[in-house]
Symmetry: C2
């Protein structure tokens, strides 16, 4: 199977992929995926409780009548059926129609046989034009060349407990990023440091007309200098939050079920911003060297953040969970004995005498792929999950999940790149069975990754890890 | 001045420093510093508000009649006076009496001219014997060779707002570590993985008789394996907390004024544990390469932790502070304008419209050496500070400070060392004016650092950074 994916990607990634010219319409990007024909109801029962915490309930049959795949796959109705076929498990890649994705982006996906009814992952690849915010007078600016900004965008959304969140994120997250960048169009193109303060005329919030900028010169001597780069990082961070808030609003109409990890890349003004919320992973392969561009957020890597929250807000644990970690579930007969534990501020272990409240289920338990928050979910950052509850309980899990990504920045102008260099984004299904080095050695090598030998992206979304075993 | 310190250290650190034999008395360590003759009253006014947040009140005159220096300096009454002389600023090192500190430890300190009345820093160097906890029967075990454990210990305590906390920590922290290790004496010497659960007989809490150990075999299949190393880390972490709690109890009798950063090293069973709570720093120099063994905890490095706490527990801000960060103090006339800010979950910056509550003083402000929590304190971890209040307010700062260290482990058995290798511990006064590389090149080079060419420690506690300028 791995070879099939390799072939598909190698077929796709070929030489000479020039970046597309700026889109004509300033209102780009359009949605990459059609909205679901009949918005499905959010599943009422929580996902199966994994690990040793309780019995796994039977999975409710999803009410969805249809599902969608990324538009750039250009699937016909027949192709859509094949992409949804758990038996055949066809590897899907964009067709070789001569129209290439920006930067000769490669993409491959395969359905996750049996894990869910449909492929819950989504992907997005867009070139987005950002027009500066309207001026103070309220009249739109002339959309002339040179005023706006363009960014390239790739997104990978690993859905769980339903495909709604991933689908919504693939349609809208880049629009939220565009909205956040609108205020910064002039500032990012100005070589001077960003102004600390913008004058706002009442009734025209968000104005960033350059005449209204209060330069740092007029401020106190003791002030922080903020870089252009950190403004883009802040814009991406806030876009994630606004996307999550939109999901929260719209779930009330049962439009958005489930949640998703989000791994997105923004290329803007010479820099690559990799934003990760979840357990997907991005690497850059540069001259055979692997540069990690993300880290995974799981119950294990975020244990101390989760425990601290449970400690400070015990009401979130509902009397059902303890914020302490134990190496395994404590049993009633062990009351009064001393067991190893870790508190929120510890990285080491110590012994404590077991008391009644230690018999509660630990907030964080298990390790590796079996690690869970509240015995339910194995990732700790992402979008959606507003309806997610602990199994057999009304306790919400969302307060422990963070929608904020970690953003890493890679300055493309600082490095020399060769034709084989590539930026690889993959969901955990890929990385569970393939090391960074294996991806590198089996990745596309048939041509330059993009213009000027910059690393061309390669997106892989295999829901089922077995799909990538050779 | 730097040359004087260099000479002092080079003089001290000479070849052939064999480790001392195990101390005869199992009740070691004794106090390294005599307790203060007349316990001073805690200063009633908070330390000067730094930065631009408010007027700096005049420093109250300390009520202390005497102060002490580390016992290993063996200062006579005249030497003590010279060590306390702000004009002469003599560099203090242990005398060359033939009695060497363990592992040929070097030490140098100089008083901080004018910054405080006395040198508020302390240091400690001990060999500590740990006897296993009493057995279930309640009778003490025979103190025979082979039952106990020995660890080497070095501590550097950078005091502020009074010398009491640093002095108390230098006398007692290693005893707390010893207490925590008592339960682990048998477990750490057993090659099997630590038992997850210890049977406790009522009335004999803390028993770890090996016959009572529940081996991991008897537990669930899904259980974490805990290493011996992580038990030592946990013991050190809990010792820091217990030390801090003791300070909280005893401050009520006005025994402990101020607070201190704590940087300690424990060498036990072939591994070096470096525990840091504060802005001191430890490095190992190995074959000319520098290995960082700590990181600094300051309002800048811990901004997100502090802001999260203020966000989750707004009552801790007392209506006086905002958990948001701004690049400078917001002014009333800027109400309604948009200014750069960072929230607890952001690493980038964005603009927000200034509202009334943004006019509050930011919880975290300033940068570099001027960064402050609540406009008061420039370190975010350490011991003590239980009486510390915001200037002109009753708002306590302690909830934002953490007494927990970060512990890094260095396995001495895994590396080859040469005679010049050294472990250097220094307070911020050293590192403010001296880079890691400079310390390395100007450090002791006159002989092996310790037995078997392991890195011998070098402790430097210059309260006044100018003291180390060449």
């Amino acid at each position: 199977m791995l070879n099939r994916v390799r072939s598909a990607v190698a077929h796709l990634v070929s030489s000479g992929g020039a970046p597309p010219s700026r889109p004509k319409s300033p209102d780009l990007p359009n949605a990459t995926s059609a909205p679901p024909a009949a918005p499905p109801q959010a599943p009422r029962s929580p996902p199966a409780r994994a690990g040793s915490g309780g019995a796994a309930p039977a999975r409710t049959v999803e009410a969805r009548a249809s599902f969608s795949r990324p538009t750039f796959l250009q699937l016909s109705p027949g192709g859509l059926r094949r992409a949804d076929d758990h038996a055949g498990r066809a590897v899907q890649s964009p067709p070789d129609t001569g129209r290439r994705l920006p930067w000769s982006t490669g993409y491959a996906e395969v359905i996750n046989a049996g894990k869910s009814r449909h492929n819950e992952d989504q992907a997005c690849c867009e070139v987005v034009y950002v027009e500066g915010r309207r001026s103070v007078s309220g009249a739109p600016r002339e959309p002339s060349r040179g005023q706006g900004l363009c960014f390239y965008y790739w997104g990978l959304f690993d859905g769980h407990a339903g495909g709604g969140a991933a689908e919504m994120a693939s349609r809208l997250l880049h629009r939220h990023i565009r909205e956040q960048l609108k205020d910064l169009v002039e500032i990012l193109q100005d070589p001077l440091p960003p102004p600390l303060c913008l004058l706002s005329t009442p009734g025209a919030p968000g104005s960033s007309d350059s005449s209204q900028l209060v330069g740092p010169q007029s401020c106190w001597s003791s002030q922080k200098e903020v870089t252009h780069e950190s403004l883009v990082v802040g814009a991406i961070e806030n876009a994630f939050q606004l996307m999550d808030e939109q999901m929260a609003r719209e779930r009330r109409g049962h439009q958005v079920e489930g949640g998703c990890c989000a791994l997105v890349v923004v290329y803007l003004l010479g820099k690559v911003y990799v934003a990760n919320a979840g357990d997907s992973r991005a690497i850059i392969v540069r001259n055979g060297e692997i540069i990690p561009m993300s880290r995974e957020f799981t119950p294990e890597t975020e244990r101390q953040r989760l425990q601290l929250l449970g400690f400070l807000k015990p009401e979130l644990l509902g009397g059902e969970f303890t914020h302490l970690e134990f190496p395994r579930r404590v049993q009633p007969k062990e009351l009064g004995q001393r067991m190893l534990y870790r508190d929120h501020n510890m990285t080491g272990w110590a012994y404590k005498k077991i008391e009644l409240e230690d018999l509660r289920f630990p907030l964080v338990c298990g390790e590796g792929k079996k690690a869970r928050v509240m015995a339910t979910i194995g990732v700790t950052r992402g979008l959606g999950d507003h309806n997610l509850r602990v199994c057999s309980s009304t306790l919400p899990i969302k307060p422990f999940l963070s929608c904020f990504p970690e953003v890493r920045v890679y300055d493309l102008t600082q490095y020399e790149h060769c034709p084989d260099d590539v930026l690889v984004l993959g969901t955990d299904g890929l990385w569970d069975v393939t090391s960074d080095c294996e991806v590198h050695s089996s990745g596309p090598s048939s041509g330059p990754g993009g213009p000027g030998h910059t690393p061309g992206p390669w997106l892989a979304s295999p829901q089922q890890q077995a799909g990538f075993r050779g």
